[in-house]
């Protein structure tokens, strides 16, 4: 049961993590490695569909690079994506301040 709550809690933060790594163009696997390199757990089967969804929502632009040994699809933020990322960052900071405050006060019942 706890896993369901955790998944729910992480869902929105993953979007933010993905957007914040896409100022430069990245393909799926490189992005996966970068995000994991920063210590954020994300699964491949979550990331790839998420990229497509963000693209269809108009936050990302994509292009196929067929020049290399194998074709790769590169994603990056477009102007709308940059604007939305800024708003989300602000919101995230505000929320984490508020949550910290709430969680620090939660000792009321524990004694």
């Amino acid at each position: 049961m706890i896993q369901g709550f955790i998944t729910e809690l992480r869902r929105g933060t993953l979007t933010l993590a993905v957007l914040s790594c896409l100022s430069g163009a990245q393909y799926g696997y490189s992005l996966l490695q970068e995000i994991e390199g920063k210590g954020v757990r994300i699964e491949a089967n979550t990331l790839y569909p998420l990229l497509r969804r963000l693209e269809s929502q108009g936050l990302l632009e994509s292009a196929w690079d067929t020049g290399q040994s194998r074709p790769r699809k590169y994603y990056r933020l477009n102007n709308k994506g940059v604007a939305i990322l800024e708003r989300l960052k602000e919101e995230w900071r505000r929320m984490s301040r508020e949550m910290d405050k709430i969680l620090r006060e939660d000792g009321t019942w524990s004694n």
């Binding site: 799926g28 491949a44 089967n45 790839y48 998420l50 194998r70 074709p71 790769r72 699809k73």
Partner: protein, 336 residues
């Protein structure tokens, strides 16, 4: 090993809308290749595919359109309409099937005509309910995709259904009970009419040897058909009214009262028919029922219609009193 990857990707893309399949296929192909080492062996492929997980789950994540026939915003309305329509269609189809059967000439023997009617009621009822469910579902599925959500406003809030506000159910009528009574009305009325049409001895109280004596004369029985149908129709109408209101109210109370009065009037009228009792039965009674206190003794029989009429009136009065009592109880809860 290529085959395994192709098969995995196919299992994902076949669950997606056609226009997205090719793009997702290419993307997955590229991403899986990136995840594999140079010159991968079977184990490496298996590990990557296992990491990606069940194709159906991956496809679900790729799918952007919601996957339901009736969306949550319509679901409550859908359920309530579905319930009403299936019940009404079931009843209507049941009646139509039975009326069709009664009017047809297919039934001609007394053997099995009860089973025949019951099986027509069941198949008619089931067919009607299925038809109702199908068309309601289809209608909602289409409406769900074409109608935009209305802005809600305070004005649209529904009125409280009386007692529900206080968490009490009140004396709700039982749906199952009402539907059962409708089904029984249809069953008995059609059996009666059918039996009369084919001169089957329905009212056999007395049989001596092989000879069967019907206490009612054929002329009276024939004449009673329209009255039987009127009584059935009125009780069906009142039952349907109850079904939709689901709670006692003065309107329903009035309908039930009217039903009782009309039924008592019709039955009292019929028992006063001079030719109601058949000649054979009178003859039979003369010879066998000679006790002075026996109500069927012809010398006492003059009292019979009056006594029956009084009984009908008492039953009607009890029915009306019950309806008033229930309505009072309901209104009291509402008024608290």
């Amino acid at each position: 090993m290529e085959q395994l990857i192709e098969r995995y990707i196919y299992d994902v893309t076949r669950r997606l809308p056609e226009r997205e399949r090719e793009e997702v296929r290419l993307e997955l192909m590229s991403s899986i290749s990136d995840m594999l080492p140079e010159n991968p062996d079977g184990q490496a492929v298996a590990a990557v595919l296992t990491e990606l997980g069940a194709p159906s789950k991956l496809a679900e994540k790729y799918r952007q359109e919601p996957r339901y026939l009736i969306s949550p915003r319509m679901y409550d309305l859908y359920l309530s309409v579905l319930k009403k329509v299936t019940v009404v269609m079931g009843i209507v189809f049941m009646c139509v099937a039975v009326i069709d059967e009664v009017l047809s000439t297919r039934v001609s023997s007394e053997n099995g005509f009860i089973i025949d009617i019951i099986s027509h009621m069941i198949s008619g009822g089931v067919e009607g309910a299925l038809q109702g469910a199908f068309w309601v579902t289809l209608g909602f599925a289409i409406a769900d995709r074409s109608v935009n959500a209305r802005e809600w406003s305070l004005k649209n809030l529904p009125k409280l259904p009386g007692s529900a506000a206080r968490g009490r159910t009140g004396n709700q009528m039982s749906r199952a009970g009402i539907i059962t009574s409708i089904a029984l009305t249809v069953l008995f009325t059609s059996l009666l009419v059918l039996a009369i049409r084919f001169n089957l001895p329905v009212f056999v109280f007395v049989s001596k040897g092989v000879e069967i004596i019907s206490p009612f004369s054929q002329a009276a029985i024939d004449r009673s058909i329209p009255f039987i149908i009127i009584i059935a129709a009125i009780s069906m109408a009142v039952s349907c009214f109850k079904l939709f209101q689901a709670r006692w109210s003065w309107m329903i109370c009035a309908a039930v009262a009217a039903q009782n009065v009309i039924m008592a009037a019709i039955l009292s009228y019929i028992v006063y028919w001079e030719d109601l009792i058949s000649a054979e039965f009178t003859e039979f009674a003369k010879n066998h029922l000679t006790g002075t206190r026996d109500i069927l003794n012809p010398t006492n029989a003059i009292w019979l219609p009056r006594i029956l009429a009084v009984i009908f009136i008492i039953f009607a009065a009890l029915g009306i009193a019950g309806a008033i009592k229930n309505t009072f109880a309901q209104e009291k809860i509402k008024g608290d």
